[in-house]
């Protein structure tokens, strides 16, 4: 909290300074020859150091998509491995060109940075053993109070689980591995966690688990840029948009499959899907 306050103060102080040059950052990045991407390094499958020692994840891939669009080479990136608290200040002070770091879009933040279009919709899901007692979400819900759900400890945890399963027993655990252990040992019938974390866990342990097939608590993840540079924002938006619906769909969907274990369906040809 202290960190957030201090950084927010720093951002407020310096974010207000006028941009030195009126030229778009797009030109600046092109002239420099590489993209400076702000992202984290401690949250798989979003941004983390893999076993091979390199920074990787879905956020990193979004940055690579932008670098590919800029230079035809997804590797032309300089990473700034920032903490979550540094996301807004580093944009405000121009330390990074772009931040892709599982940033939840909120109206409050949108007053300080400019968000791109979302590239993922996060939510809470229910992880179950593949050969568990319950088939899916409907079965869990029907069982009412006979179901125990493991969840990461937090003030709203009980309320959050009860939004999806009103009758369920809620067991709170203080670390992710303990939560998964409860599921493995049968002390819990399901674990409620971020859809992305759940997907990633399933990718790492193929065949052991399944998704109950119900998600709630939606939130959008977007990249962000410093405010006031429409040209640069439009460029990143275009890149992300075409990643999800156009020529770069193979790149986006390969990344999606790698980190979330799900093969996306091709965007339908003909009328643009996004306006349906």
């Amino acid at each position: 909290m202290k960190t957030t306050l201090a950084l927010a103060a720093a951002a407020a102080l310096f974010g207000a300074l006028p941009a030195a040059a009126q030229e778009s950052r797009l030109q600046e990045v092109l002239d420099r020859g590489h993209l400076i991407l702000g992202t984290g390094s401690t949250n798989p499958p979003w941004h983390f150091i893999g076993e091979d020692g390199s920074l990787q994840g879905f956020d990193v891939d979004m940055g690579r998509l932008v670098a590919k669009a800029l230079f035809g080479d997804p590797d032309k990136i300089e990473y700034v491995q920032q903490s979550g608290d540094a996301r807004i200040p580093n944009l405000a002070t121009g330390k990074v060109d772009l931040t892709c770091q599982f940033m939840t879009v909120t109206a409050e933040r949108a007053q300080q940075v400019e968000f791109t279009i979302p590239y993922y919709r996060e939510g809470v899901g229910l992880l179950m053993m593949d050969r568990g007692d319950f088939a899916d979400y409907d079965a869990l819900k029907a069982a009412g109070g006979d179901v125990t759900v493991a969840v990461l400890q937090n003030v709203y945890a009980e309320e959050m689980v009860h939004q999806a399963l009103p009758g369920a027993e809620v067991d709170q655990y203080d670390s992710v591995d303990l939560m998964y252990q409860a599921l493995n040992s049968g002390r819990a019938d399901a674990a409620a966690t971020d859809q992305s974390a759940l997907r990633w866990f399933m990718v790492q342990n193929p065949g052991r688990y399944k998704d109950a097939g119900f998600g709630w608590n939606p939130q959008s993840y977007s990249c962000a840029v410093a405010p006031g540079d429409q040209r640069w924002l439009n460029f990143v938006n275009t890149v992300l948009h075409e990643g999800m619906t156009g020529v770069e769909f193979p790149f986006y969907s390969a990344s999606f499959a790698q980190w979330f274990g799900e093969e996306l369906e091709q965007p339908q040809i003909g009328f643009p899907v996004e306006y349906k």
Partner: protein
């Protein structure tokens, strides 16, 4: 405790952990060296400077010592770039720790010089030594011996403060460890390991300090 997994993951991540450890050593050694040089000047100014200089240095040391290192780090990273001097995270972090270290060393030196009885300066004067000679052959040798233990203490403080640099994105040892934890979930094991490494690092510094102390001790 998953000892087998821990060892396997430790081995797998050795390159990144070593790189992080190297950063920690580099940051700490650099900041302590530069901070000490700067701090000696500050201490001299505090002890022998004219009034305006003494007031300026007093504000400098009190301000730096009264500010959390964390705030100093953020200030160095963000304020300088807003002022047009674009320091990268490593440079800004080193600068913050150097300034912090210098304020402490300055105070330590001032205290050490103060602790030498005035009679010594008077005696030096009476046998005809100039101020420069008095300082280098009478005051400084005693002051340095006085300040060594506290200086070693400051060095270990800097090693510990270097962990705060992760916030501005310097991948020092603790952040490298956290990166492994985020992938393996072996938090207890790796945090214990990190604690042990920092302890060994600081213990080595303290022992080196003691060894120097013994070597330069004046036989009584």
């Amino acid at each position: 405790m998953n000892f087998e997994f821990f060892l396997a993951d430790l081995w797998a991540a050795r390159a990144n952990l070593l790189a992080g450890l190297w950063q920690t050593v580099l940051i700490s050694a650099g900041s302590v060296a530069l901070g000490t040089l700067l701090g000696l000047l500050v201490g001299l100014g505090l002890s022998y400077g004219r009034l305006p200089l003494r007031i300026a240095l007093r504000i400098y040391t009190d301000f730096l010592r009264g500010t959390p290192v964390f705030v100093l780090i953020l200030a160095c990273y963000y304020i300088f770039s807003a002022a047009g001097l674009d320091l990268d995270a490593f440079q800004a972090g080193c600068l913050a720790l150097t300034l912090f270290c210098s304020s402490h060393v300055g105070e330590i030196l001032r205290g050490a010089l103060n602790a030498i009885p005035a009679g010594q300066t008077e005696a030096a004067k009476s046998i005809g030594l100039t101020f420069g000679q008095t300082f280098t052959s009478v005051l400084l040798p005693q002051a340095l011996r006085q300040m060594l233990p506290t200086w070693v203490n400051t060095a270990t403080e800097i090693v510990k403060a270097s962990t705060l640099l992760s916030v501005i994105g310097v991948v020092e040892f603790l952040l490298a460890v956290q990166q492994v934890i985020s992938r393996t979930y072996l938090s207890l094991e790796f945090y214990l390991f990190a604690g042990l490494v920092y302890f060994v690092l600081n213990f080595a510094i303290e022992q080196a300090g003691r060894a120097v102390e013994r070597r330069i001790a004046i036989p009584r």
